[in-house]
Structures are given as C-alpha cells and as structure tokens.
C-alpha cells in the first residue's frame, strides 16, 4: 500500500503536460481521427471502439474480460485519480481486479490525472497500462467521440502513434473472432470448500462473481466455456457427486459463436438443477432455450442502466457491459422475460416458467457499479437449497 502522493516514476512516464507528451491518434474505420497524447504503452492497437459512461471503476473495467477486443472510451473526463490498487490475491482470486490482466486493447480518455492519490493505490494508471502493454490516449473530446459512436454505432478503430503506423496497421474486426474462447480459462479450476457445488462455465468470468459465490458458502468448479459438464460422474469428488447448480458467466463478443456452450446448456436444461446466467450467460441460455440474439447499435456500458422486473413496479439500477441482446419476441412459450430495460425496452433477463433457470443481462455482481441486484445470487442459493425442483 502506498500512501505517498503517487507519481509516475518511470522513465517513460507521461509528461506533466501535453506539450512534452507523445502524440497519439485514434482512427475510426468509418469516421474521423481523434488526436491526443499517449499515457500508456506506445505501440499501435486495434479493436472495436465502445464507450462506457460510468464515473468510477476503471481498474475493474479494464480487467473485465468482456472487453476483450475492444478499445474502451471512458466518458467521464477525469481518469486515473485514485491510481490502481495492488495485484494481491487470495486463493486464486484477485482482491481488486476482475481478472489477471487488462483486457481492453486500448483506453481513450479526456484528461489523465497525474499525481494520483489513494491509500490503496500501488501504481498509476499510466504505469499499469505500460506494464500490460496497453496503449492509452488522453486529450480526446470523448463526448464528441461518444456522440459519433451513438449515432453511427460501435465501430472498429485503431490507435496509432505516427503516420507510418496509420497505413501499416489494418483495422481488425474482433466480432468475427470467438472472443469467449480467448477469454475463457483453459483448464478446470477449483475454488472454496462450501456446502453447495456450482459449476461455473467460464466465458470470461469476472472475479467478483467468484467472490459472490465464495461468500455464500459455495464450492466452485470453473470450467472452460466449451467443457461438457453433462458427462455423468465428472464432478464426483470430496464434496459429493455431481453439482447443485450451474452458472454461465459473462464474456465478450457474439454469443452466436459459442455453439458448444449452447449445446451443453441445452442438455442441462432438460434436467431440473438450477441454472443462473449473467450477461453472456443470459444470451447463451436464451440461445439454448431457442431464442435469438442480435447486436445492439452501441451496447449498454454504464453503471446507471435502469431495469424493471417484468410486469411489476420493482426497479433497479444496474451495471452493464454488453453489445448483444436477447430478442424477447423469439422466446419460446415456456420462457418469459424477467427484467426489461426501462430506457430502451430491451431484454435484461429471462426465466423459465416452471424450472429454476434464470438469468440477467446486467451484472448483479457489480464491480464496478451499483450493488442493487446482488440478491440474485441469494435467489440462486435458495433454488439450490430447494434442490432445484421449483422456483418462486
């Protein structure tokens, strides 16, 4: 823990003012070029340019695997104020990060705070970006950029440092890649020794999901995204045979590219064990149920997305980060919407009408963002307690 006034101490630290910093640009595939100054790693990068309107939580956002392949624009103009917390972890779970590394391809901000200040900061944001070889640009009119993306939709972009790069580096469309496969773990990882056993299908899971389970006395088996958890006896072990509940995590990119996971889910849905999905998990469960997903114009990425429990007066403020959504109209008869976005009426969660399967498009685990909906983990626990035969 560093309590001193944080300073960028390295040689390559960003200059105190823009006049001595290296110039850098963000070029959009079908749009203008935005010029700014570098404060991160100085090598070109490509990705889909998206924006997030949350005002806190850059360490959490940058380590969120759902951002794989994306260049993140932060609309809040002052970034880096409280530095970056240390990379400590307990039992394989990071204390302050959402995964082991920065996942964004690049970071675009308006103003970078030199001289961060926080009791829990270990380094500056600039240092951290350089450590993880991720470029960052400040001095951008992020509001103008956001308005452009809002009107034209999320689009591919690249960060370049000199004119030579501009032509050499091609635009890359990450949405054609199976990003979930990139973000998922490669092998089975186990956490905790709680009473209930959850199989967590990792599409790019945020560590706070793991933390939320561990504090609820759950034993987790984290499996790769395409792992076949339906094989009989595959989870027999010290905690007993099988599992009590299935969890499908968040993750980056297009759910339609995750067919293996959908197929596995479809099999599991024939049974009655509780299934809970978040974000990508919501989309994969919808696909497994037979519904369709589609790409949103510019996605929901913020801490202030209002959702309502379908056909009730209960409303919650949620944290979101997704570019695809479930098409509610395509839900089969035995499923129904669980949550609706109050701003644009898009789907925010679904549930099975009789079985204990439900999911949320938003992030009940928050981190970053509001914690209003963490009770969904409790609902899932309740379902597992009941042994998975009905739900309320």
């Amino acid at each position: 823990m560093v309590s001193d006034l944080g300073k960028d101490s390295e040689k390559s630290a960003p200059a105190r003012n823009a006049r001595s910093a290296r110039k850098a640009s963000l070029m959009l595939e079908n749009g203008p070029t935005f010029q700014g100054y570098s404060f991160g790693h100085e090598a070109p990068a490509t990705g889909e340019v998206v924006f997030n309107t949350s005002m806190v939580g850059y360490p959490e956002s940058l380590t969120d695997p759902s951002y794989v392949g994306q260049i993140l624009t932060v609309t809040y103009p002052l970034v880096g104020n409280y530095g970056v917390p240390p990379d400590t972890r307990k039992n394989g779970v990071y204390d302050y990060y959402e995964s082991e590394k920065i996942h964004v391809s690049g970071l675009i901000i308006s103003s970078y705070s030199t001289g961060y200040s926080h009791w829990n900061a270990a380094k500056s944001l600039g240092e951290w970006l350089r450590e993880h070889r991720v470029p960052g640009i400040y001095g951008i009119d992020t509001r103008a950029l956001t308005k452009f993306l809002r009107e034209r939709g999320a689009m591919n972009g690249k960060i370049v440092f000199d004119d030579a790069d501009a032509d050499k580096i091609p635009f890359d469309d990450p949405s054609r890649r199976n990003l979930v496969a990139e973000a998922s773990c490669r092998e089975v990882i186990r956490y905790g020794d709680g009473k209930k056993h959850v199989v967590l299908v990792d599409c790019g899971v945020k560590h706070n999901i793991i933390r939320c389970f561990l504090t609820r006395d759950v034993r987790i088996t984290r499996v790769p995204w395409n792992y076949d958890f339906n094989v009989p006896g595959c989870f027999d072990g010290p905690g007993g045979p099988g599992y009590d509940g299935l969890f499908i995590s968040n993750g980056p990119g297009d759910p339609a590219l995750c067919d293996a996971a959908v197929q596995n889910l479809r099999v599991a849905m024939q049974g009655n064990k509780p299934i809970f999905g978040i974000c990508m998990g919501n989309q994969l469960m919808a696909l497994a149920a037979g519904a369709k997903t589609y790409k949103l114009k510019y996605g929901h990425r913020s801490h202030n997305q209002p959702v309502q429990i379908y056909k009730t007066t209960k409303c919650f403020v949620t944290s979101q980060n997704h570019g695809y959504a479930v098409d509610t109209d395509t839900l089969p008869d035995d499923w129904e919407p669980l949550f609706v976005n109050m701003n644009d009426q898009t789907n925010e969660g679904i549930r099975h009408k009789t079985k204990p399967f439900f999911s949320a498009q938003f992030h009940p685990e928050a981190s970053s963002g509001p914690t209003d909906t963490e009770f969904l983990f409790d609902r899932f626990m309740d379902a597992m307690m009941k042994g998975g035969h009905d739900h309320d």
Partner: protein, 1128 residues
C-alpha cells in the same frame, strides 16, 4: 400502506406548500428553487395549490405560481390559520428548508393535521423526527448496522478518560449546553484530554466525548425513494475541505473525485439502506465521513428534505430533484416519470456526468464589525457559485472568478487593490502562512495559492490542511502553468500549446495577460504603475487565441453522458473539447441574452433572480429565444426550463463575448441582474454588442460620481454636498463647511466596511488617519450626512426617456440605515403630497436626461419638504419584486417590453390607489456570525427580506416583523422588556411607545440613562446595569442586563447605539450580542422599535377579551388573507 397512499392521492384536490421565509445564512435561495419546482409538479397533476411564504421577492410567490399565496410567517400559528381557512387535503413540508420542516413537526405534534384532515405528503413526519433527533437517529441507524458518530456523555474527569479510551484517540470534547462551542477541543492523547476536560468542566457539568474524525473526507449522497421502495442515488458529492468544515462552507465537487468504485458503491448502498429503513418518500440527503486511510466511515447526518445540497445536485446533474420529489409525494412511482432532460428515458436512473462541477461558497464577512473569520462547523457563507468544466482546474478557476471577490482565478494573485489588501498575503511570515493553512478562513484557497507560490510542498500543505493530495496536485498544476506563463515576456513568446493548456486549465485571457505583463511577476523588471496592463492586453490574448483557433466549445448537460440523444438546452463552455453540441447555424438574431445576477451576497439576492426570470418569461411570451447566463445553483433562473437556452457560465466580459459570438443575439439585457451585469455595460458596448434598453453611456453617466453630479446640477436636482479629497487638510476644510456627521468613502479598503459615518474629528482621524487611507493616489469621497431625514425609493420604468411607471416607497428608519436593511412601507404612509410631486418630477427629469429605457431606481432624502438624490441606478433594484407584487403591476414585464422598443401603455393604477399597505422588512443572520455587532449602518448587513400585506399599517408591520423572527413579548410570566434607548433624540422618539408598554402591563427594565429618563417622565422601570458596571461593582450584586437575558427574563431588547464613547459601544455591543446569542428579539433602531411596539399594542387593544395573555391577543386580530384578496 401503499393502498392508503393511493386512496389519499386519488382524493387530493388542494395541497398546501410551506416556503422557507426570508433568506438567511443556511437557508437561502435554494428553497425558492425547490418550492417553485414542487408547485410546478403539483399543477401538472391538476391540483389546486396554496403557498405560505412571506418572502415576496421569490419566484415561487409570483402571480400564477400557486393558486393562493399567503405572505405570512411560516409559524404554526399562521399555518394553522391558513389550514382552517383553505382546508387543503395535503401538505408538503420538505420544500421549505428547516423552517418549514420544524413548523410541520410542531403542527403534527399538536395534532393540527389530524384535526383538519390534512395528509402529510411524502416522507412521514415520524421519519423526519427520527432523523432530526440525535438519539433516535443513532438508534435507528444502529438497527440496520450503519455506523454513526458515537458520543458519550460524562460528568467526571475519570469518566471522560474511560470514554476516550473506549472510543480511541483522537477524541473531541464538547461542553454540553455551551454556546458557540465554548470549552470544546481536540485531544490526541490522555494528557491533552485531561487538560481540555478540566477547562471544559468550567463551562458545563456535562461533557460529550466524541470520536474525532478530523481530516476524514466528507461525502454526500442524494437519494430518491418512491412508495414502491424503488431507490436511486442521483448524485454524490465530495468536499474539497475535509471534515470539520460545514458542507455549506466547503468547496464541493460532484461527482466525487477521490473515491474508488468500492468506496463509492459501499456508501451508495448504505445510503439506500438508511433511506429505506427510515422510510423516506421523496428526496433525502445522507452525509458521510470517510477515513482517508481505509474504508471506514460514519454517517454524519441525514436530511429528510430538500436541502442546499439537493439544489446543487439538481443543477450539477440536470436531474430535477424537487420536481420528482413532489411527484413522489403525491404517490407516483419513479418508473412512471420521465427523465425531463431526454424526455424519452425514465426518471428511474442515476445521472452519468461527463464533466465536473465545483461549488464554492461566497462569504461577506468583511461587511461585519468584529466577526470571526474562521470557518468551521457552522455556516457563515451567504451564497455560492457552481462552475462546470471538464477538468478540476478549469472548474475551480472559473468558480474563483464567479465568487467575484476580486480574484481572477487560482493563480496570478489578486486583481483588485481591494482583494490584495484584504488578503495581505505578501505580509505573512512562513509561520503565519502555515497557521493560515491549518486554521481555515474564507480565504484558505488563496492561502494555498500563496503557499505554492512560495514553493511549499504538496505534502506539507496536505499535512496542514488535510485536503486530499489529488486536489492539491491539481492546484499545483495550475500554479506550474502560471509560472510558465509568467516566464513569457511577451505574447510573442507564448506558444500555441502553452496557450491552449492554460485555457484548458481555466485561465482567463485577463489572467494570462496579467501573468505575462504584470511587473509583480517580473521582479527583475522596473515596476511601472500599470496595474491595468492586463486589462489592456486581454484583448490581445483573445485575438491571438482566435487566430490560433483556440476557442471554447459548448457542451450540453444531458444526464446520460451522451449515451442517448437529448434535446437539452442546459449548456456550459469548455476548452477541453473540440466540438459544439449546439448547432448555431440557425436563425441568428433570434436570441436575446439576459445576464443573471451571480452569487447571492449581501446586497444582491433572490430579488434579482425574480427580475431575470420575469425578463425571460416576457421575452419568450413575445416569441424571442430567451437565453440566460448565470452560475448560481440556488436560483430559478438557472433552471433549464425557465429559458430556451441556459449557459451555466461566468458573467465576465470574456465569457459573455464568447457566448455573444456564438449566439449572434438580437440584443443583451443587463438591467435585470443587479450590479454585475451593469458593470459590463461599457465594455460590451465598446465591443459592439447590442445592449437593449438604456445605453452604456448613460449607465456610465449615472455611475460616475462626477458626471452624475454635474448632470444633477444642470437639471436643478439637489444632492447632499460631497467632495473627492486627497489630503486630511482638505477634508477638514470641507467638514468645516458642511458640519458633522459626514459619510466617508475611501477609494480602497483595508478591512471591514467600505463606508463610514464619522460624527466628530476624533472618529474621522481614527478612521482615515491611522491607516493613511487618504493620499494623492487614493482620494476619499466625503459627503454631508443629513440626520433625521426620511429616505425614499423610486422604482420606475421608462421608455425612451419617458417615465411610464413609478413606485415611490418610504423607509421607516431615518436615512443612515442602508436601503437594503431598512424597513420599507409601500405605498408611503407619511409623505407630503408636495414631496411626492417633487420626487416624481426629479425622476422624470433624470429619465429624460439619460434617455432611460427600462428599469431604474433612485434613492432620495426628504427633509422639510426638500428632496436630495443620494443614489441612482439605471437597472432594476432590490425592491422591484416587492413594489411589483404590492402594486400588482409587473414592472419588469413593462421594462422588458420597453427595452424591446414596444409602445408601452402607462398602467392605469398607481400606489396611491391601493387600499392596503405593504411592508418590506429585513432578515438578519447575526446569530450565525459569531461576535459580529448586530447594529445597522451605512453598510448593508441583512441577508434576506420579507414583504407582507395588511389592511392597515400596523397589521402589515406586525406580520412583517413576525416573519423575520420577531415575537410579540409576553405580558407577565416573569418576563420583561430591556430598554437602552440611546441618544436623547431616540429616547424622545421611544417615549410614547414605552408608555404604552407600561400601560399594557409589561415589566420594563432600563439601563442608566434610559432609567432616569423614564423615571423623569413618570414611567416606572427596573434599573438594569451595563456589563461594565456589573464588573466594577465590588459586591457583584447588581442586576446585570446581560444576566437578565441569559436567565431568560427578557422577551424583547431595545438597544439603540449612541455611537459615542468606547465604553458605551462595548457595553451596548455586549448586550446586543447577548440578545442575539440567546435568540431574544432585538431592535437597534428607535423608529423601527416604535413601529413594532405600536403595531402589537394597537392590535392588542382590539383583541377580544378572551384571548390569552401570551401576546397572541394581537395575533388573533390579524386577518388571514391571501394576496388576491387584497384588491386595488
């Protein structure tokens, strides 16, 4: 319970709203804004509305804002009377500050609501009481595991030790029931504790030992909850100043800047938990202390009502908290309401900001004699500004210009001689400077600037101030940029990149010019006396900038950080961006810009907000695009639905020009915003900006003492004799001619009041001599001071030099009391017809000579049927809303039409047709201003005003006096009235009413001179002794005036200063201060005291015999009539 609410909601037809009364320190314009919003919400739901608020200058008391408006005191007595008369079904308590809330709680406890079947809408009264009572509050929060600040009551030093050890050091010791924090102190260890405790026990038998959280961060959340239990955190805010400084005294930013996601959301979740548990329906504010070295926290306070912070949060986010809270109070849910900025998305959301706002308080401590300048746990500031930027540097520098105390930003020092001498920074030793950092005054931010300029490390400043290093780093960055600018010798040396960076860090053109050219910053250069070099050069900076394409861009405040399209007209300017959000290509010449009045301060407050709002309303009615520029978050004029475009921006020449260049307006109105816009008249005219109404040249003629004086001579209008003099000899010679007393105005001021009345040579010498305030460079203006003259005000409107409306009002006090503090009767009650004729004639002559078009105000002295002009302002004045509302003719509407060049008809009625009387009385906030002498003089001291109507003079006087906190004294009950009646003249003035008091059976106490005078005139009284007499008495057996007050034996203090010996001044001061500190009504002016006493005695005489003796006999006689029931 929900069903109940629905049922209640369905049957609601008429709702009563309580206002907050006069503006005072701690309760100001924000409640006009919240009340106005609530009324709008009620009307949108088709409900009939009744408003009680004696503050006649507010927008909420405008015609049409509520169906029935009562200019009556917001006290249980009057509110019950109105309930009895109006029979509303619902009442809203949370939109009128603490005044309305306290009144509501009292009525609830008395069962008044139950008796008349009135439902309290929104947060239930029990929830309010839970948050207001310290013990209940701690208990209720404890129930849900939320931490509050613990305090332990102890009665022995041993118990104090034990308590401190269990709480853990550092602790704070407070003496229970001691005024003004006497005996309290911080203790870091047992030794310090023992010493403090010993002292504290001399003030009180009981001490409170509290865990000290000094230096913790202070953070607030604004939470909204509906009856479906849906909650949102609309905004959070972080204080720049750590705990220990009242949030009203702190620089505040929104959103928080130094909190991590975990901290932000932990506090958000706790706030929502608290709000749910307490049962708020509507809006609520939760204040926290958070440890800067961990995630430990305490809840400091919960405000179950709209507050200053909620007004700020509304402006900071664009989320209309009061409007939504009112709707929720009616039983609607958040999901049923729309976001009023986007108009398409839901009101159930939390705004995402893509800018930072910075609130800075505005103090006016220099206006008060003897006041302590330290800022701390109680509020002293009189207003505030809000600045918006896309960096902290940009926002705070804007804000420091907005507070208009002679500073042009954080760097580059003071820009006026006044500010320079006030701060006296260059005189501070390092030790004194560090002391000033550790002990905050209203100038602390500038002390930090000085510390940085002297090379003080951020770490050291942090240790002394406990201000988070992030903020200090930002300030240090500003300072570094200023040093780079100062290194340039000429604009030629200034690189485009440095210029752009300076603008992005909030430097004004003036500041840049000053840093480059001011000899103060170039010690190696010959210091020529070119103080205005920056003034001359700022135009060059501007042209250079524009040549280089360095111009500000306009951004919208849209609540969702551009995520959704929003047709919002809420705008600010920034250099941290390159694209305008507004398309200016359409229709040039369609806009008219109205300049607002800036921060509320003594002398300029809600009345100019009313003027600005009415100018906008008139313009919009006539089809113009009404554009407002203002930066005061407490106002209605900065409500984005009051105008077509709102620029929440500086009222500086530079910024107004930026906006003029974008808007290409038909014209600019600067006569409805008080003195700040008026001062821009000449520069704007020179820059070719079309000014609507009276020309800048005429404004200058009225403002320039010499030009104005020679004009009056030409017109044959008299004024008190005056001279601008440069030597003491010349001053003495002039005084010889006009005689004492004289009014003296130095051209610059060291500290305290700018003007002074001197009654003899000694006083004159003392005031001017010692401080060598007079010199060739700094002349002094000396004016003849006419005693016992009446003061009259003319508020008028002219079109092309012809006066079309004119309202004459009369001060109750004699001239010598600042017109902003005086009690004003309208129409005049005691004027000769001849005087009225003279006044009208003089006003018309001045209007013609200056070719006035628009509002203007002239102040006259009248004595022996002769009038003299003492001041003339070619703009709306403080009294425009008062006379407009009493007269029921909107003078601003007339003036605006005139300024648009329309033919304006003279109104058919004037004040002499009225069958009722209006009294405007002033509200003072002395109780908040520790040690200040509560006397009235030539410098204005009041913070607010009320205006009440009555069928006759006495009735209106009594209502107005009660509205500003006076109470009719009780007869009997062991209480009495304490009289020190001052000079012989005032003794005579007070004789009749004192006799009346005696005849009514009041017990009278009088100090020496007054006692003798009363005795001689056959009025028995009890001799009370001055503090000095009591102290000198060896037996300590005298009945002291101060003790009488302390022992609650006095119900009313009349203490007229004699303005003579030091001794008398000190005694008088101590008695007056004691009255203020013990909340006993105090009069320091004989004429006003007489008017009040006559009023309640007169009405008491008419009271029915069965009325009780508690003084409400007089009250029961007061007719309860709404504004519209007073007919011409």
């Amino acid at each position: 319970m929900i069903d109940n609410l629905i049922d209640n909601f369905k049957k609601l037809k008429k709702v009563l709203l309580l206002g907050s009364g006069a503006l005072k320190i701690g309760e100001a314009g924000e409640f006009d804004y919240s009340g106005s919003q609530a009324l709008k919400a009620l009307r949108e739901e088709g409900l009939s509305t009744v408003l009680i608020n004696p503050n006649i200058a507010t927008v909420q008391t405008s015609e049409g804002a509520a169906d029935k408006i009562y200019f009556l005191p917001v006290t249980p007595f009057f509110v019950e009377k109105v309930i009895e008369k109006e029979r509303p079904d619902g009442i809203l308590l949370s939109f009128g500050g603490q005044t309305a809330l306290n009144c509501g709680v009292e009525l609830y406890k008395k069962g008044v609501f139950e008796k008349w079947g009135v439902s309290v809408l929104g947060t239930p009264v029990q929830s309010i009481m839970d948050t207001e009572d310290r013990e209940l509050f701690v208990e209720r929060l404890g129930e849900i595991g939320v931490k509050t600040i613990e305090s332990v009551a102890v009665e022995t030093p041993l118990a104090a030790r034990a308590a401190a050890e269990s709480l853990g050091y550092p602790v704070i010791v407070r003496a229970a029931y001691a005024l003004g924090g006497m005996g309290s102190g911080f203790c870091d260890d047992a030794a310090e504790l023992d010493a403090t405790v010993e002292k504290a026990f001399s003030f009180s038998n009981q001490l409170l030992i509290e865990k000290s959280l000094k230096g913790w961060k202070e953070v607030e959340y604004e939470i909204v909850r509906d009856r479906y239990d849906n909650c949102i955190a609309v905004c959070n805010m972080e204080n720049f100043d750590p705990l220990g400084i009242h949030t009203g005294e702190s620089i505040v930013v929104a959103p928080s800047q130094t909190l991590t996601n975990d901290e932000y959301h932990m506090l958000r979740e706790l706030a929502i938990r608290v709000v749910r548990h307490v049962g708020i329906v509507g809006e609520c504010n939760v204040q926290y202390a958070i440890d800067p070295m961990s995630e430990d926290y305490r809840v400091i306070e919960v405000n179950a009502r709209l507050s200053r912070s909620s007004a700020l949060a509304s402006k900071a986010t664009g989320y209309p908290l009061a409007f939504v809270a009112a709707k929720l109070g009616l039983g609607l849910g958040l999901h049923e309401l729309k976001n009023s900025v986007t108009k398409s998305t839901t009101a159930f959301f939390e705004p995402a900001l893509d800018y930072i706002v910075c609130k800075i308080p505005r103090w006016d401590l220099g206006k008060f004699e003897g006041v302590s300048h330290e800022i701390g746990s109680s509020m002293k500031s009189v207003g505030e500004v809000m600045a918006i930027g896309r960096t902290f540097e940009e926002a705070i520098q804007k804000g420091l210009r907005m507070i208009a105390q002679g500073m042009h930003g954080f760097a580059a020092g003071a820009n006026t001689a006044g500010a320079k001498s006030r701060l006296k920074m260059d005189l501070l030793t390092t030790e004194a400077l560090e002391g000033a950092l550790a002990t905050p005054t209203e100038n602390r931010i500038f002390v930090i600037a000085e510390a940085l300029a002297r090379g003080c490390e951020i770490q050291r400043i942090h240790e002394l101030t406990r201000i988070d290093r992030w903020f200090l780093q930002r300030l240090s960055d500003i300072h570094a940029c200023a040093e780079e600018l100062a290194d340039c010798d000429d604009l030629e040396d200034l690189s485009a990149d440095l210029l752009r960076e300076a603008k992005q860090k909030g430097f004004s053109d003036y500041q840049i010019a000053k840093l480059i050219y001011n000899p103060d910053h170039k010690p190696d250069k010959v210091a020529d006396d070119r103080f205005n070099v920056a003034e001359e050069r700022r135009g060059d900076v501007r042209s250079l900038r524009k040549r280089l394409g360095i111009v500000p861009v306009v951004k919208q405040i849209d609540t969702l950080a551009a995520e959704y399209p929003a047709q919002t007209n809420y705008l600010y300017l920034t250099y941290n961006g390159n694209e305008n959000d507004v398309d200016y290509a359409d229709a040039p010449g369609k806009s008219i810009i109205v300049l607002g009045s800036g921060a509320y301060r003594i002398g300029s407050s809600v009345e100019f907000d009313w003027c600005g709002v009415n100018a906008l309303t008139t313009l919009r009615k006539k089809g113009w695009r009404g554009v407002m520029i203002n930066y005061n978050p407490e106002t209605v004029s900065t409500d984005y639905d009051i105008c077509d475009r709102l620029y929440f921006e500086e009222l500086t020449f530079e910024r107004v020009m930026d906006i003029v260049e974008l808007e290409n307006p038909h014209g600019v109105i600067l006569s409805t915003g008080g003195q700040i816009p008026n001062n821009l008249a000449l520069p704007l005219q020179r820059a070719g900006v079309p000014i609507l109404g009276t020309s800048a040249t005429s404004i200058d003629k009225a403002e320039d003492r010499h030009k104005f004086s020679s004009m009056l001579d030409r017109l044959g209008v008299e004024q008190p004799r005056w001279r601008e003099l440069r030597t003491m000899d010349a001053i003495h010679a002039f005084v010889e001619e006009v005689g004492y007393p004289v009014l003296v105005r130095p051209s610059y001021v060291l500290s305290g009041a700018a003007m002074h009345v001197c009654s003899n040579a000694a006083e004159l010498e003392r005031f001017l001599g010692e401080a060598s305030l007079v010199s060739q460079r700094h002349p002094v203006v000396v004016s003849e001071f006419i005693e016992h003259a009446k003061e009259l005000e003319v508020d008028a409107v002219a079109a092309k030099g012809e006066m079309i409306a004119c309202a004459i009002s009369e001060h109750i006090e004699f001239a010598g009391v600042h017109s902003g503090d005086a009690t004003i009767q309208f129409p005049p009650q005691r004027l000769y017809v001849e005087t009225v004729r003279q006044v009208r004639r003089a006003a018309q002559r001045i209007a013609s000579e200056l070719a006035i078009t628009g509002p203007f105000n002239i102040q006259f002295l009248a004595k022996d049927n002769r009038i003299k002009v003492i001041e003339c302002n070619l703009r709306a004045s403080r009294s425009f809303p008062f006379v407009s509302k009493v007269l029921k003719i909107n003078l601003i509407e007339l003036a605006t039409s005139a300024m648009l060049g329309e033919d304006v008809q003279k109104p058919a009625t004037n004040e002499f047709d009225l069958d009722y009387v209006g009294i405007k009385a002033s509200q003072f906030s002395f109780s908040r201003l520790q040690n200040a002498d509560p006397v009235l003089g030539v410098e204005m001291a009041s913070t607010g005003e009320v205006g009440c109507l009555g069928d006759d003079y006495h009735e209106a006087v009594l209502k107005a006096a009660l509205s500003v906190g006076m109470r009719v004294p009780e007869k009997g009950g062991g209480k009495g009235i304490l009289i020190s009646s001052g000079t012989l003249r005032s003794k005579v003035d007070l004789l009749d009413c004192t006799r009346r008091l005696y005849e009514k059976g009041y017990r009278l106490y009088a100090t020496e001179g007054s006692y003798e005078f009363l005795t001689k005139n056959g009025i028995p009284s009890i001799r009370a002794y001055q503090p000095s007499e009591v102290e000198e008495d060896p037996n300590r057996a005298l009945l002291g005036a101060v003790d009488l007050i302390r022992e609650k034996k006095i119900d009313l203090v009349i203490n007229i200063p004699k303005n003579l010996t030091e001794d008398e001044l000190t005694n008088g001061y101590r008695v007056r201060r004691c009255a203020v500190d013990h909340n006993v009504p105090l009069f320091t002016n004989a004429r006003l005291a007489g008017a009040f006493i006559d009023a309640f005695c007169e009405l008491d005489a008419l009271a029915s015999p069965d009325a009780d003796s508690s003084g409400s006999g007089a009250l029961s006689r007061l007719p309860i009539k709404s504004w519209d029931e007073y007919r011409v």
